[in-house]
Symmetry: D2
Subunit: 346 residues, 4 copies
């Protein structure tokens, strides 16, 4: 089959022929219909420090997709050939404390398909039955390809109360933009979004942000405090991982508010714990992946209801063989979700 492969430990990737994965007793083989590029894939493509430590080439990468079940292992009972599916790509061990207490999204021994084992940037991908998510017929196919990052957003937005609360979302990459849409669909208001790139600011407006702030032109802390009578927002969702944005994120938060951190800072940073967290009575949450499968069920309900219009975020559709073009689009900042078709465009 054709697949995007990181052949050796250095920048770049190749679209080339590889063997179709063999499946075990409990596995499912899925013919990939649509795959989508994540920021993590960009890191692997560019071979940053994180990739150099984590990735063991050769590897087929990619972990956002949907497709049709081609074949199932002998002991698979809940999935059938022809099912239209996506998957939770975090493989949890099943044995650790977290797995045994309903928190498999933070499994101590997690491995990720497309990072630690061959992924979905290919015509076929192997998925364990326990990780398969069947797509509800009421959900558009393109959206089915982005459930993984949409799930990050749903998990983050719904990690605490949100309805009837004010929210600031710092950073409007794809997950930040999804979060704007999810927060709006779940009754948050007002929704402040901060973002440096003009292209993403326009998308944030389309997604329903009440006000979109360019932090290079306006002090977002002063602005948000001004708009909230000096109180700050009830909830901050930190989606940038940028040190300055993170510090501002804390300062926008009202006393007793919730700040959920999803963006990954590249290195340690200085924080004023006394004023930013302690005297503020803040609740700070580290957010990882998606709850399996609580988040998936909620995401499905939100999508089926029509409350989420994600169309503006799917900015590009390309054959998978053009993946380098897709990577460049994302690096330019003038794209949000780029869909790739390994088995033919729709």
């Amino acid at each position: 089959m054709q697949a995007i492969v990181k052949p050796e430990p250095k920048p770049g990737a190749r679209f080339q022929e590889v063997a179709v994965p063999e499946i075990g007793l409990h596995d499912v083989l899925v013919r990939v219909q649509v795959a989508s590029i994540c920021g993590t894939d960009l890191h692997i493509y560019q071979w940053d420090r994180w990739s150099a430590r984590r990735i063991r080439p050769p590897l087929v990468f990619g972990h956002e997709f949907c497709g049709v079940v081609e074949k199932v292992g002998a002991e698979v009972s809940t999935v059938r050939q022809g099912d239209f599916v996506s998957a939770e790509m975090h493989l949890s061990c099943g044995h650790c404390y977290q797995c045994r207490t309903g928190q498999r999204h933070i499994c101590q021994n997690v491995r990720i398909i497309g990072v630690d084992t061959d992924g979905c940037f290919a015509q076929f991908v192997r998925i364990p039955e326990a990780n398969i998510w069947k797509i509800d017929p009421g959900i558009p196919a393109d959206y089915a390809a982005v459930l993984d990052p949409l799930g990050n957003a749903v998990h983050t937005v719904l990690a605490g109360d949100i309805a009837g609360l004010s929210v600031a979302i710092t950073g409007c990459g794809p997950i930040g933009l999804f979060s704007v849409a999810v927060a709006k669909a779940c009754g948050a208001s007002p929704i402040f979004a901060t973002e440096i790139h003009p292209y993403r600011r326009r998308l944030a407006e389309k997604m329903g942000a009440t006000v979109v702030i360019d932090p290079s032109a306006t002090d977002p802390v002063a602005f948000v405090l001004g708009e909230t009578g000096g109180v700050g927002v009830d909830v901050v969702l930190e989606m940038s991982g940028h040190p300055e944005a993170i510090r501002q994120a804390f300062q926008m938060l009202r006393r007793g508010g919730r700040i959920s951190l999803l963006g990954i800072p590249a290195k340690p940073l200085e924080l004023d714990l006394a004023n930013d967290i302690i005297f503020r009575g803040a609740v700070v949450q580290g957010i990882n992946g998606r709850r399996v499968f609580e988040t998936w069920y909620k995401m499905q309900a939100l999508l089926k209801s029509g409350a989420l219009d994600l169309a503006p975020l799917i900015t590009d559709r390309i054959p998978m063989s053009d993946f380098e073009h897709g990577m460049e689009l994302l690096l330019s900042g003038n794209a949000s979700k780029v869909l790739m078709y390994p088995n033919g465009l729709p």
Copy 2:
């Protein structure tokens, strides 16, 4: 001033001249702009068993309103003449366990303005400063008159998780209908509503219910179980107080789901605790009033965002002198919220 008075302990009421209330050091006098009739007012008007036990005539009743501050007591510091306000009408004692622990909505010694003391079906009403709620300029005046029952709905819907969850609302009186709108604005889906009266069923559809069920024609339990793959809904909001609806409400709930009870049954009823609550792992909540002022802040945010279109529920506007017509409209079932104007129609 003119006011609707229950003059003696029997059915009926009179629109008549009474003295303008005197205010104390901590009180505010409000010129009522719009008042709205609650089901409780109907009970007082008709003089049911509950009224006979609770009400001490002569009484000016009514507890849903908005208006403009006319005068403030000498020690009032946060409210000024000319402020456009509504009010929390539950007077909490401030000294009991609940009041001292942030639960004044279930104060042990609660007294209600318009039930235990003179209310807002009048040109003026006296309100303690601590109970005043200032109306945000972004909120339409008519909606300001129905914050009390809307607050019941917001409190009930948001008494647990709701976003991305399926909901059944049993009973579509005004609070049930508000709840449909609030649940939709907060990301619930699908929303099943049950109601016997055709007029209210049409309103439930306008408010955004996914499916509206006539329990006199369709078995709502079988229907909801059928639509949810036999699982039941995540959340039930019981708004009818009707014994059969309550029993059905429990049977619609999925294992581990939440059922919030707001409708008041007229007398004790038989429940199958083993199957309806215990084996079901259900969480049952008794809901009272609104959280003071958590619910008010959330309600304000939802209204300002434009996510709640309440216009279809405001079915009638009459001079307060025509109150008997308003009562009849409500008794006929062919009205939802009836607004009354003691100081002239808008």
Copy 3:
């Protein structure tokens, strides 16, 4: 092997020879060291209405035990021969909504070992690997035999806040008595316990109840309200299933309090929802089994800390062949936990 068998659908049971269970790829065979009799076993023994509907003889019953692993299936990786273990006896399906969202204790398709399949009143019992719980070396062997009912108590007590709160426990069967001990170990105070049988009242005192009430002599509602300044208790744990005790349980609860229902009433009963739940702002929880494995981890920590002295509740130790004597002891009310030894007394 020797086992207690319900041979046909009628009262009684036989201690007789049956085949040692065969194990599958994912199963574990455990040599039972200690088994313990549950109220459910009494129902099966006496063949009540519930048993007649649920049980399909011939059946080896019993579901409370500990023992040593004799043999493991070919695909078992986390359990080894010689491990000292107990087990969660609820077999969850793994596929339903509840199982996929961390709530397998309320699986829609639950089957119970010792009720729906052969249980632990035998020299050997077959358990799926996923249900095995390894006993921490710091835990006394006799306690390891009663983790199932102790888990019910821990789950109920910790289903909400308990530290620094007042509690009433209605009914002092074994789970009620365990609950007294757990509530005390977790900082509840005062702890009121109600119980009709004098033998159990004495045990409740030993377990640490602050006051033990005989409801046949003292009105428990009046007593508890008197002791709490008319407020009621913060938490009620209903452990009796008795209609009158349940009604009293609600009336003892303070406004805004939590009542957790574990005792199973034999049939529907009349409740005053308006006063008992709605105006009270109560939170009512239906409690089922134990959280898998959250409750098990907490139970282990409580036992290891030495905070739970369960010795007074283990009232009798008999050879398994004397099971009829054990059943009689329990029916007399003059026993709490009766331990049986199928492979020899300790």
Copy 4:
């Protein structure tokens, strides 16, 4: 009356004659029976940077005490002369978002008696009625003087689940030591405590810590991970404010655990947010004061039950005129709570 006064903005204080406070309509005058020295008082005494910014001399400082009501204002209705009382010393404004939503412990406009207005290191102190806490007769008088810091501990320990969970407490100043006792009384186990001073380590053992670690001799992260099978503890309570201890505190926490921060770092510090919070799925709480009055009620229940033996922490009792000796004892590290008697030793 006699009082400890900070007369001017520099180190030191004087025990001198000042006027007895005048009380307003809503105030209570309390004759101080016992006062206790807090770390904050040491800062004021030594005149550190924080004091220089915050304190406006002349000021009677001190905010931990109990005493007997001497006189009440004309509108005081719930407190009477002769009542034995302590008080919540945070004066909340009553008008801000936090005050109106049950979070007055994080009032935006908080002022503190003994910091911003005259405090309790005196023969008499003025307290608003709304801040008075009546001492239950079942509580020893000496304990009544330390409810303020004990409340910090109870608030921190009970800011999330604790029963049946493992805990690390970093820093064994008085609040850390109280936290050890409270955690133990509420079912936490094991309890790891870290502390550099040998005197405090011995007290931590007396309070019930399972293991007390000297971080200058043993790596506490490696130790705690070793004792928890590499998982980390469920809960960390950070009580030191020390940068290195804070960093270690995060590293001891299991994935998905809770870390509550009470110790105030003197300045911003570097944190590895990615590994310490985000990938860890941690919940970080900033803790402030005590919940008013939720924490007070729970503290009262814990004290009355006898579950807290605080005697070892009350290390010294001196006449208030010897306050300089008390300050020196604390600065030496060889004392925990020092009680002072302005109206005569007991």
